[in-house]
């Protein structure tokens, strides 16, 4: 108890974060908001943003193309704060959703979108703040409560019973509304016709496809009387044509006066369907924009933000001695539909001693799969992976790690730690066959413990001891422990996926420093990140990944976060007004330092669209 209050007292007034939200104004100033989220100096970001940094008109007064709002917003969230023991998942969230609009909520994974929607849907109770629905203050305490308030949610993972028909699935749990007989069927068909959902009520759910299931889920929510729909990453499971159909449905809903809250991180889609966009970063709302006045690049930048100025990497330490060479890597996987899709196509790159290769890209474009293929967790269909001239494509993960591949996984809780085990056991994870963890088949626990003490001291892991469980450390300290562990085995190459995600700023700069120092000693690093400043600041070479391909190459010395953000969206894939920036991006000179053949795919890809 003491700990929690002490911490809270300490942190809240310490920075600009603690300052109360500009109450009541509903006004959002782009540049100002950026400052709020920024921690230290905004020197780096300020000049970048100022040209576009004019204040955006308050959402409620925007003259939009949608049906005229009657003044009372459908949903109004004010000052929502949610704390979990030791962490704040949301703070000072302010969102106004106008009735009859599609309101997009965008932000990186872990930014706090889901927690916020759980609060609105009654699955979590906020610690502070108010929820107003149609002008009425509510505090939903359960999803049933939220549905009574007219809020319905379509989850990313459908919640349908395969062995029941569509109608049975819709009626299930809402039998009271229209009974279970002919009346319910009539009502289903009414809704289906009204919104063009094209539902076949008597088909078994197992016989219909993903897009149909999604429409069933939407109808399910409407059947229960929802006036505001929350769609959680609805396009994640759809192919492009299905996405278009879904958007058509959403426009129908909107036309009938319903409100849709659309959670996504696909910028192109958001721009094409949303009337208003709210960006969430690090648990708070950082900007509200209208699609007409923004671009994918700008949105990407808002999403990932610019937390700290990154000093540049200094002297180049790149040598011409290749450490990790990946050539012709192919990987295909089956999606939820069971169809085979290319996940990675023709991946070629070489990382030299002392070089950091950064891979930029919107998440879900194959970065995670690339990392897993290099680590030997996934088996690629073809291609070759060489570590210092030795082919490691066919050997297992453990052999690769022993050969000198260090790994900082993207999801440290699932892949990097044993949460319920003490720190010294976590120090062994992944390196149990190596000294000081074992000799022969025997664990040398004493040595491992001593070495854990060393890591804790050298890498400034803030912990009272090495017998506490990994779960009780904060994210930053967990990451420092993982980083220290990987660096303790003198890796030749470090695969670092989002090394500073969910990490507080202090730990972030420590990790950056240590990566730089290791690079100076000759470490080769494959850096995957969604933080553009991190990528630009650390990398010697930058590649952009889009739909499983490395589509563009950029020189971190000259590229700006804006340009990179544009390239990440697949140049003009969003169909928005980004032709100009895309060309700029294509024009950036390929890095002459890189030994690999320069690719201009970024440009051709952009042109083809």
């Amino acid at each position: 108890m003491i700990g929690r209050t002490t911490v809270a007292d300490r942190v809240r007034p310490s920075g600009p974060l603690g300052s109360p939200a500009p109450a009541g104004t509903g006004r959002r100033c782009y540049a100002g908001r950026i400052r709020r989220g920024a921690i230290a100096s905004t020197d780096l970001t300020a000049p970048l943003l100022r040209p576009r940094g004019e204040c955006v008109i308050p959402a409620s007064t925007i003259p939009a193309d949608g049906p005229p709002a009657d003044g009372v917003p459908a949903v109004e969230l004010r000052g929502i704060t949610k704390r979990f023991p030791g962490v704040v998942a949301n703070h000072d969230i302010d969102i106004t959703v106008r009735r009859g609009t599609v309101h997009a909520l965008i932000g990186e994974n872990g930014a706090g979108k889901s927690t916020l929607m759980k609060i609105l849907y009654g699955m979590q109770k906020p610690d502070e703040g108010t929820i107003t629905i149609d002008g009425e203050r509510v505090s939903p305490s359960s999803p049933a409560d939220a549905i009574r308030n007219g809020i319905g949610m379509v989850h990313q993972h459908f919640m349908l019973a395969d062995n029941l028909t569509v109608r049975e699935n819709i009626v299930l749990g809402a039998e009271r509304a229209y009974g279970i007989g002919a009346r319910s069927r009539r009502r289903i068909m009414e809704i289906s016709d009204a919104y063009g959902l094209d539902i076949r009520p008597d088909v078994l759910v197992e016989e219909i496809g993903v897009a149909d299931r999604q429409r069933v889920e939407i109808l399910k929510v409407l059947y229960r009387g929802a006036r505001t729909l929350i769609l959680d990453e609805p396009t994640a499971v759809l192919v492009p044509q299905e996405v278009d159909a879904l958007f058509a449905n959403l426009r129908e809903l909107k036309a009938e006066g319903l409100t849709v809250i659309f959670i996504s991180h696909k910028l192109g889609e958001v721009l094409s369907v949303a009337d208003d966009i709210t960006v969430i970063r690090r648990g708070t709302t950082v900007a509200s924009v209208v699609p007409a006045e923004t671009s994918p690049g700008e949105l990407a930048e808002l999403m990932v933000g610019s937390e700290l100025p990154v000093p540049d990497t200094g002297e180049s330490t790149v040598t011409d001695e290749p450490v990790l060479t990946v050539s012709g890597l192919h990987l295909s996987g089956t999606d939820t539909e069971g169809t085979l899709r290319e996940v990675l196509t023709d991946i070629d790159f070489t990382i030299h001693r002392g070089e950091i290769l950064g891979i930029a890209g919107v998440e879900g474009n194959g970065q995670a799969e690339l990392v897993e293929a290099v680590m030997g967790i996934r088996t690629p269909d073809g291609g070759r992976i060489e570590l210092a001239g030795e082919d490691i494509s066919r050997v297992g993960t453990r052999t690769r790690r022993e050969a000198g591949v260090g790994y900082i996984p993207e999801d440290r809780h699932r892949h990097g730690l044993l949460l319920n085990a003490p720190l010294w056991e976590n120090r062994m994870l992944g390196h149990v066959t190596e000294r000081p963890n074992s000799r022969g088949g025997r664990l040398t626990i004493g040595d491992a413990r001593r070495d854990t003490e060393r890591i804790v001291a050298e890498h400034d892991v803030r912990t009272p001891g090495i017998d506490v469980t990994a779960a009780s450390l904060s994210g930053g300290n967990q990451q420092k422990l993982i980083f220290g562990r990987e660096m303790s085995h003198d890796p030749k190459v470090l695969i670092a996926a989002h090394p500073t995600r969910g990490v507080d700023v202090g730990a972030q700069s420590q990790i950056w420093d240590q990566i730089r120092r290791a690079r100076a000693r000759g470490l080769a690093v494959l850096l995957i990140s969604a933080d553009l400043d991190e990528l630009i600041g650390l990398s010697d070479t930058l590649r952009v990944m889009y739909r499983g391909r490395l589509v563009a190459e950029a020189d971190p010395a000259t590229i700006t976060p804006e340009e990179l953000g544009t390239a990440m969206t697949g140049a003009t894939a969003g169909g928005a007004d980004s032709a100009g920036p895309a060309d700029d991006q294509g024009a950036t000179a390929p890095d002459p330092a890189s030994g690999t053949g320069a690719e201009h795919d970024g440009r051709t890809d952009g042109g083809a669209r």
């Binding site: 942190v11 790690r401 730690l417 044993l418 319920n420 149990v432 963890n437 930053g476 969910g502």
Partner: protein
Amino acid sequence: MTTSPRTWQPLRRIDREKLLLGFAAPALALATAFVIISLVMSLTGQNPFLAFQIMGDYGTKADSQVWIINKAIPYYLSAVAVAIGFRMNLFNIGVDGQYQVAAFFAAAVGGYLTFSGTLRIPFILLTAMAVGAIWAGIAGFLKATRGVSEVISTIMLNAIGGALIGYLLHDGRLAERTQNIVHTPYLPESTMFFTIQTDAGRIYGTIVIAIVAGLAYWYLLGRTRFGFDLRSVGESESAARAGGVSVKRMVITAMVLSGAMAGLVGMPTLLNDSGTFGNNFPGGIGFMGIAIALLGRNHAVGMAFAALLWAFLERTGGRLNFEGYNQEIVGVMQGIIVLSVVIAYELVRRWGLRRQQRMVGAQLAARAAATPAAVGAPVPMEKPPATTPGATGDRRAGQNGSDDPTDPEVP
């Protein structure tokens, strides 16, 4: 509260903490069980306190003690077999079938052995372990290659094992008949295990096997590389895989080891008591092993106490019946004890985790306060990791329901 970076004091405190939690759980569990049992007995119109007294008096008599120890030997072996699976989040519910098939073949082989001498006993033991390992290995293989749940396959293998024994345990096949009992040929006297003579009776020499098994279990899982791999798969399959453990191979190996251990379960009865496998060979010990492993928290010593407790309850249950109580009350007691233990441990574990997080947070806050130049860091915006719903069967192992390991804020 110390503010200097790292002293021994906090470490010790965490250790003391661990000890406290270690005792808090069983104490809470037994107290709860005691209360609930008393309530149940009172409700059924029986005097619980008299019953406890009878049990205490009778269970501590010398001959009872010998009986209890002998009974606990197979229980313990069975619990260890189950625990090997539990440590890896595998639910080997088929120990029952494994030990019966193993004991049957060991008895048959022993009965028909023609060579004599000291090698016979090791040969019988090895046969039992090999048969048990194969029987469990089938389930492991199916899980690793085809993704068949080991819960389903081992249950089915129990039934198949029963049928196999039923077929072979037939006059003229591998068995002979003495009156109503069909059984394998008796082992010669020289093949029987030694016993320890006491005033109150003979203690089975197979207790040595149980002790060795317990030590091997503790050493293999706690002190070897292999054991670490096995436990890490149990804690987090994804983290183990990323760490280079071949999860499939580990599934097969763990099932084989569990089955080999299960193969020994029938040995105390075979080598110290019956000398034969007949249709009256004791069954159901595999299922008791599950309860005992839960009760002993998969801990080598904890399971020994649990096995003794179980044997104690069985011994005194008969006495209660004699004194006019319903013998079924013993089954009720066993059930209540297992439930209390599982619930109490989970509660104490969660409480301990929260407490630890608070302590870590408090200490770091104090330390940060002592260093005024602390960074005005923002609150780390992490979502608490969602609880990953594990298979319920696995979760019952009580291993590590990963519930919100939320991070204390550390500036």
